[in-house]
Amino acid sequence: MMPATAKNRAIASKSGALFNRPRLKLLLLLGLPAVWFLVIYIYPLLHLLSQSFYTFDDFTMTVVREFSLDNIRNLFSPANADIIIRTAAMALAVSVFSAIIAFPVAYYMTRHASGKMQAFLYISVILPMWTSYIVKAYSWTLILSQEGVAYWIIDALGLTGVLNAFLDIPSIGGNTLSTSNLGRFLVFTYIWLPFMILPIQAALQRLSESLLDASSDLGARPFQTFRHVILPLCIPGVIAGSIFTFSLTLGDYIIPQLVGPPGLFIGNMVYVQQGSIGNMPMAAAFTLVPILIIAVYLYFAKRAGAFDAL
């Protein structure tokens, strides 16, 4: 019988072999997640992208497996270009506006609030962020409906005239709040706002107090410090946040169904093409648009140092 210490030593040398063979250890750890992501994510993604180079025969209602750039060309047809521009414009507007709302919240969280208050505010932001997406969207349909809270508040404040003036503006307005682009914009901004607050807050958190002291020591007034030190240094946070607001708006197809005027978004087009029409190649071609936009965006965001703020 082997004495216990010798046995232990034998095991230790065996596992020492594992410890000393980092490649084997890496393979054991990495194998499963790598295979999963290759099979469940990368392969399907490439499969989808390859579909966009097939065509769909309207006559036989089947997919023709021959390489063609027809779908890509088709994306630039006036009707489809409209959809892309409409979606991208909304994504841009939502990103800009949510950055404007998010900044004071993030700023107050990091620079004014004390420890306990800071924690409280942090929870106040993450809770609505994680709260059910469909419930939030549903709530807005209740708020914006004609007998709903929004009209009630606007009426109580005597602002009906102002609202109607807004709704009369072409391409922003509409017949009612819930069928206007203004309403849709509000819902999008609301739902993605926390995704903008947190990265800005993270960027502000890293801002060192000594920089601000240096600025004021050198004679800058508070506003100058704000304008020339704080604001530029939170830009990476804004960019990081806008990756989310942009990407999430570009791919959404539920909110455009629930609120806003008729006229499809990229997401709705993808859904319609693959579903009722069965034109998977065209649907796949449409997904290229958000993928490309996000890829370009990520490239520039990385150069601007936005990933440190994630």
Binding site: S15, L48, Y108, W130, I143
Partner: protein, 260 residues
């Protein structure tokens, strides 16, 4: 350095922003107790708890909750396994392709949900796989991995590597070190990551629509309800419950990791 006026302005705007975040949540809370049957008029004419009892009689609601809980539980388990493996693999390891691998982990949440959803749908279709609970779960697990991964990586960065080396120096095997030194240190972050993954899966709609068969998950059930004006009071009650159900794991997860 803050002048009084500007700090009051910031405070006011910040509080307005927080109120904006909670306004729709408050509305859901109010409407769940609304007496009216089919209108959304504000202010409500009266309050009742009647709809909670009516909702409790509906089998389809419990069925949807059951589907969602099952899917969330299984995809969370898969995400816990894959996410912690990936985190351990990348921790203090440099290998070619490391950046690509981390990018791939993030992609399912960085790219719009329709991309993930449609990729899976087109692959399942061409492979002849019938959509159902399994396909939904696979999709959910994939985008939940990064949540667990982030939590574990954040924790690993704070574990001093000295204790790992000490464990080896004292003769512990790699597995013993993992089991007795690393894992106890990861416990809370695994649990917290798991809770967030659970909340994310429980609530997911965009990818689910593409990968679902005939089983309505709870968010799908809610979406279908929106085209049924007769059921508004029941929908309101379920909306409130879903909201509370997703808030709970998030709060718990925050509480578990707050010392970070």
């Amino acid at each position: 350095m803050h002048s009084d006026k500007s700090s009051w302005l910031i405070k006011g705007l910040a509080l307005a922003g927080i109120c904006f975040l909670y306004f729709p949540i408050l509305i859901i809370l109010i409407y769940a107790f609304n007496t009216e049957e089919s209108a959304f008029s504000f202010p409500p004419k009266g309050f009742t708890v009647e709809w909670f009892f009516k909702a409790a009689e509906r089998d389809d609601i419990f069925q949807a909750i059951g589907f969602s809980l099952q899917i969330a539980a299984i995809s969370t388990l898969i995400a816990l396994l894959l996410g912690s493996l990936a985190a351990l693999a990348l921790y203090r390891n440099n290998f070619p392709g490391k950046n690509v691998f981390t990018l791939i982990l993030i992609l399912p949440i960085a790219l719009p949900g329709i991309v993930t959803g449609l990729s899976l749908l087109s692959t399942f279709k061409s492979a002849g796989i019938t959509p159902g609970m399994a396909t939904i779960t696979i999709g959910h697990a994939t985008f939940c991995v990064v949540i667990v991964y982030n939590n574990v990586v954040a924790r690993l960065r704070r574990i001093s590597f000295n204790i790992v080396e000490a464990s080896y120096d004292l003769g512990a095997t790699a597995l013993q070190t993992f089991w007795h030194v690393i894992l106890p240190n990861l416990g809370a972050s695994l649990f917290a990551g798991g809770l967030l993954a659970f909340a994310l899966s429980f609530d997911e709609l965009i990818v689910t629509i593409f990968t679902a068969g005939h089983e309505p998950t709870l968010p799908l059930w809610l979406l279908n309800q929106l085209s049924r004006p007769r059921d508004v009071p029941i929908t309101n009650v379920v909306a409130l419950l879903v909201m509370l159900l997703t808030m709970l794991p998030v709060l718990l997860s925050y509480w578990l990791t707050k010392d970070r």
